[in-house]
């Protein structure tokens, strides 16, 4: 029994790691007021980049580093289109998801089904995600740059008056979000399932986006939230072969849960903790 529970906890931690990484990144760029729904696409790009680099160079370090870069670059495209060109951020995020899935599927075709001979261990990713959560919490609430970041998401006009470069902070935050989404992808293709298959992100990016709302934009609650969803994934695989419940129900469960969670959050009005300027473009002198 104890063994069973320990096993469940370990698997939940592992399932929850990519969710936590992507969630923390998205949380930071939303704290700066920017919505980026392209997480799934950036994750796919990060996963392919990491896998192809690891295969070609046999350097896991380089693979991880370049997955960060790939995610950040993809996010900067979103940043340019939404922050500089002022295009609709929701549509841009959707386009980024399509593009990320499309490009990784197309360019990853030559690696399809390939496996990594020397996979990376899972534990360092999990530990890094946990440390990052605590670090971000301390950063957001106990440092000046953290305060600046939050102010840009809450009241960009006031931040601007105080001499903060709203655009600059938002670009940085978006790049950080993309880098972490790329890292989440690297975890999938280097450690969790050391292989490349098209569509291996399997909706995790979207769940991470919803998780940010679920945890009320708090890095510490993100740890608990991702553990919860990790446990759900574990149960999905664990119960699948034993029970009479159709497997499709388990497959649909995380998505149903996200809708349920969003509904509850809405009904309980906890969305009040969303950054006030979330999703609202800011341009000096307008309005």
């Amino acid at each position: 029994m104890i063994d069973e529970m320990l096993q469940a906890l370990l698997r939940a931690l592992s399932f929850g790691t990519p969710l936590l990484l992507a969630c923390l990144g998205t949380l930071v760029n939303e704290r700066a007021g920017v919505v980026n729904l392209g997480v799934e696409g950036m994750m796919a790009l990060g996963a392919l980049t990491a896998f192809s680099v690891a295969t070609e160079t046999e350097s896991l370090w380089l693979a991880v580093a370049l997955s960060l870069v790939a995610g950040a670059l993809a996010a900067l495209l979103h940043g340019f289109v939404t922050l500089t060109l002022r295009a609709n951020a929701y549509v841009s995020g959707l386009a980024l998801t399509m593009l990320g899935l499309g490009v990784s599927g197309l360019l990853g075709n030559r690696y399809e089904g390939a496996i990594l001979l020397e996979p990376a261990p899972e534990l360092p990713f999990t530990v890094a995600a946990g440390v990052l959560a605590v670090g971000l919490w301390a950063f957001l609430y106990a440092t000046r740059p953290g305060l600046v970041l939050r102010s840009v998401g809450e009241n960009p006009a006031a931040a601007d008056v105080l001499g903060v470069s709203v655009g600059g902070v938002r670009y940085l935050a978006v790049a950080f979000g993309g880098a972490l989404a790329g890292l989440a992808g690297a975890f999938l293709s280097l450690a969790y399932r050391p292989a490349w298959t098209d569509g291996m992100t399997a909706g995790l990016g979207w769940i991470a986006v919803a998780l940010v709302i679920f945890v009320g934009w708090s890095p510490l609650r993100a740890v608990l939230g991702s553990l919860f969803f990790g446990l759900l994934y574990y149960l999905q695989f664990r119960l699948q072969d034993q029970s009479r419940v159709p497997t499709e129900l388990f497959a649909a469960m995380p998505y149903l849960l996200v809708v349920g969670v969003l509904a509850l959050a809405g009904l309980r009005r906890t969305q009040g903790s969303a950054p006030a300027a979330l999703g609202k473009p800011y341009h000096r002198g307008e309005r």
Binding site: L37, G41, L77, V81, T84, L85, R86, A87, N88, Y90, V91, S92, L94, A95, L96, T97, M98, L99, G100, L101, G102, V103, S104, G105, L106, L107, N109, E112, D198, G203, W206, V209, A210, I213, P246, E248, L249, A251, A252, Y255, L256, V258, V259, L262, A263, A265, G266, L267, R269, Q271, E286
Partner: protein, 351 residues
């Protein structure tokens, strides 16, 4: 530094020029991806043009792809105009197919079979959009996330039906239902897969939504809610009901498209990935291109039909993975929204 200055009334020639320019940019960027994949972009585009618009069979394929896009695109154009970002058309299409299939399999076949199927599909598709619309209008939950999540749920549900309770009796090891009776199948043009009644329905729906939006008082309410929700509330317009209605209409249109696919092409309910080739997502671009005028999908749906049929062609002739369509769609969508910004603003360099 790049700076943008608002240009309230850009000249039509400029808007057209910007969009054409962004179209060229989109093809150049996609060409870059093809080059990285190891295929000459010139060859790809030549094959694309010849295989879709250059021959009868290709043209029929384009038309076949256009049919669902007409219906879904019309509904989404309305939804976007009202500010309801329904990106769950894929799931609404699937549920529409489920509704149509239920009628085809479990009601006695007859002259009323097809009308009843379309009716059932519209209802199930519309109802699938309703929770998202309700959550959005009552408790302000972002409909982009909810509609998207419901896509995955619908997909699981269809998979459950075709591999469980609705699985055909004559099929062995496959996941689909028995074939529909003849009375539940749509007529097609000649030897093609163009189930033309769906096309007629698509044109009627697009024009009807255009009239609804521009010529009725309800349409006026829809436009005000879309342009300024706050003004709509002050004016005493029933904002919540408007959003619910929009969800029902756009989901219903997608449901009709789902019935068209099962009754016109597959003649059975089958695996969700084969049932729809991402029509619900491609239709987002159709609607975005139509710029809030449902009737304009009569032009934009065929355009995306070419891209979908072209993607199919590339899969076969260049052995490309199906994701090639996502590359097209993603790049095109990026270029479109960037183009919109460039058309509405003047670009200035320097501070």
């Amino acid at each position: 530094m790049i700076r943008l200055e608002q240009e309230p009334r850009p000249r039509r020639a400029k808007v057209l020029g910007v969009y054409l320019g962004m179209g060229v940019v989109a093809f150049a960027l996609t060409g870059g991806v093809f080059a990285a994949y190891g295929v000459s972009p010139w060859e790809v585009y030549r094959a694309l043009l010849e295989g879709t618009l250059g021959e009868r069979q290709g043209l029929a394929e384009v038309l076949r792809r256009t049919l669902p896009l007409l219906l879904i695109g019309g509904g989404l154009t309305l939804a976007f105009r009202v500010g309801f970002f329904n990106i769950g058309a894929e799931g609404q299409l699937l549920m529409g197919a489920v509704g149509g299939t239920a009628v085809a399999l479990f009601l006695p076949p007859g002259a009323l079979s097809l009308p009843l199927m379309f009716l059932a599909g519209a209802v199930t598709g519309g109802l699938w959009a309703l929770p998202a619309a309700w959550l959005r209008s009552r408790v302000d939950v972002n409909e982009i996330l909810t509609t998207l999540m419901l896509n995955a749920v619908a997909s699981s549900f269809v998979l459950y039906l075709v591999s469980g309770p609705w699985r055909g009796e004559q099929v062995q090891g496959y996941t689909y239902t028995d074939a529909f009776p003849d009375a539940a199948s749509l007529p097609v043009l000649g030897e093609t897969l163009v189930h033309w009644p769906t096309g007629v329905l698509g044109v009627v729906v697009a024009l009807a939504l255009q009239v609804l939006l521009t010529r009725t008082s309800l349409g006026y309410a829809l436009r005000v809610v879309g342009a300024s929700p706050r003004a709509a509330r002050y004016a005493g317009l029933p904002t919540q009901r408007v959003v619910l209605l929009t969800g029902l209409l756009s989901g219903g249109a997608a449901g009709l498209a789902g019935v068209g696919e099962v009754a016109g092409i597959h003649h059975r309910l089958l695996d969700p990935t084969q049932l729809s080739l991402g029509y619900g997502f491609t239709a987002i671009i159709v609607a975005w291109l139509a710029r809030g005028h449902p009737a304009l999908v009569l032009l934009t749906a065929p355009l995306m039909g070419v891209i979908l049929a072209g993607g199919d062609l590339l899969k076969i002739s260049f052995n490309m993975p199906f994701r090639v369509i996502d590359v097209f769609s993603g790049v095109l969508l990026f270029c479109l929204i960037s183009g919109e910004a460039l058309a509405r603003y003047r670009v200035r360099w320097g501070r």
